[in-house]
């Protein structure tokens, strides 16, 4: 399974970026091996005046990701991820590694809808 985690840095020890659309990076990890497959740099996307979430969701969807772990997702980003068949677990905290472990161990519920409001409120 391919898992994308919104992160403030590029390593497994980096902190989870609570904002999905305006995250600095997305770290894509293979859940079986626990290895980083890819790092998406979202630094230009997160500076967009509007619609950063839409853009970020498309970036992630293009990579064939199965699950997104993040803090908050706005309504538009959520609908893009859903259209791409990607499941979302929100309210994630701590480091990328911790979020990943929590996801694999606790199997938290997938989000049924957005939990952010867009408009930089994330």
């Amino acid at each position: 399974m391919k898992i994308a985690i919104s992160a403030k840095g590029t390593e497994l020890d980096s902190t989870v970026d609570p904002r999905f659309g305006r995250a600095s990076y997305f770290i894509i990890v293979d859940s079986d091996s626990g290895r980083i497959l890819d790092v998406i740099d979202n630094s230009s996307g997160k500076e967009a005046p509007h619609g950063a979430g839409i853009n970020a969701a498309a970036l992630v969807a293009e990579r064939g990701v199965d699950v997104v772990l993040t803090g908050r997702v706005g309504p538009k980003a959520f609908s893009v991820l859903s259209a791409g068949g990607i499941k979302v677990v929100s309210e994630m905290e701590g480091t990328v590694k911790e979020a990943l472990e929590r996801f694999l161990k606790e199997k938290p519920q997938y989000s049924k809808g957005p939990n952010g409001d867009g408009h930089f409120s994330g």
């Binding site: 967009a48 619609g51 498309a58």
Partner: protein, 278 residues
């Protein structure tokens, strides 16, 4: 003649002045409330609305069956209103600025014109005034296209006397309102806030090279001299001073016009109009 009434800051009495000026002219005047986010001139003019229409922006409607997922529309859209990935394409109507770029680049005829409600345009009559107002839909972010459309409709009769109530501030919707008017009246109050916000407004409207003058509202309340001196230094005419009075403030809060509280102001407004049209 088209006169816009503007002010850098909210709450200086911009709408009060615009309405009082209009009422002083005794009919044969068109009032256009361009403060579409918070239109409230109708509270004072109380017109009977005779027509109302919705205004839409043209936005993309995508036919997935025709789309070959080339990604050109996503690429040209700078507002993240279109996303595509793999064999999925989505349009977000409320992100769209209606630039038309996506229609132009699509060679599969997969994009057809859809629409997004921006707001409504109301037209009516009251107190001998031909009255127009725009009202932005709650949740709509773009007011400029509505202002443009409102002006187009209200100004379609080329001749006559028009008073435009501008939105507060100095940003894009204000510029849309004052563009191609003959004169801008800036309403300020004699406080440091008033002066500072006036200076911002003068800077903005100055860039458009439209003649302008100042009305000092709530005069006698503070730094009147400082405002007058500042105006003199910046070659701005002080057209009128409306003295501060508790009665006026109180009657405003009850939805009554300045000229209702002080009949004598009518004569002064007529003089003002004569002065700026002369």
């Amino acid at each position: 003649m088209k006169i816009a009434v503007a002010s850098g800051k909210g709450g200086t009495g911009k709408t009060s002045v615009a309405v009082a000026l209009t009422l002083s002219l005794n009919g044969d005047v068109t009032f256009i409330d361009c403060d579409v986010e918070e239109p409230n001139a109708h509270i004072f003019i109380n017109p009977e609305i005779t027509s109302k229409r919705d205004f839409y922006l043209e936005v993309p409607e995508i036919d997935e069956k025709r789309c070959n997922f080339c990604g050109k529309c996503r690429e040209i859209c700078r507002f993240n209103a279109i996303v595509s990935f793999k064999r999925t394409i989505m349009a977000f109507k409320d992100m769209c600025h209606s630039c038309g770029g996506c229609f132009l680049v699509c060679d599969q005829k997969a994009i057809s014109p859809g629409k997004r409600l921006v707001g409504e345009i109301l037209h009516g009559q009251g107190k001998g005034i031909d009255f127009f107002m725009g009202r932005l839909r709650v949740g709509e972010a773009m007011s400029s296209p509505l202002i443009k459309e409102l002006k187009k409709e209200a100004l379609s009769e080329k001749n006559g006397f028009f008073v435009l109530d501008a939105p507060p501030g100095t940003s894009c919707p204000v510029i849309k309102t004052v563009r191609d008017v003959d004169y801008v009246i800036l309403v300020t109050e004699p406080t440091p806030f008033g002066l500072y916000d006036l200076s911002l407004a003068v800077k903005t409207i100055g860039e458009l090279s439209i003649p302008m003058g100042v009305v000092i509202n709530k005069a006698g309340l503070g730094i009147d001299d400082e405002i007058r001196n500042w105006c003199r230094k910046n070659h701005l005419r002080v057209l009128m001073e409306i003295p501060f009075s508790r009665e006026i403030a109180s009657s405003y809060s009850k939805g009554q016009s300045l000229v209702h509280a002080d009949e004598g102001l009518k004569e002064k407004f007529l003089m003002l109009v004569k002065e700026i049209s002369g």
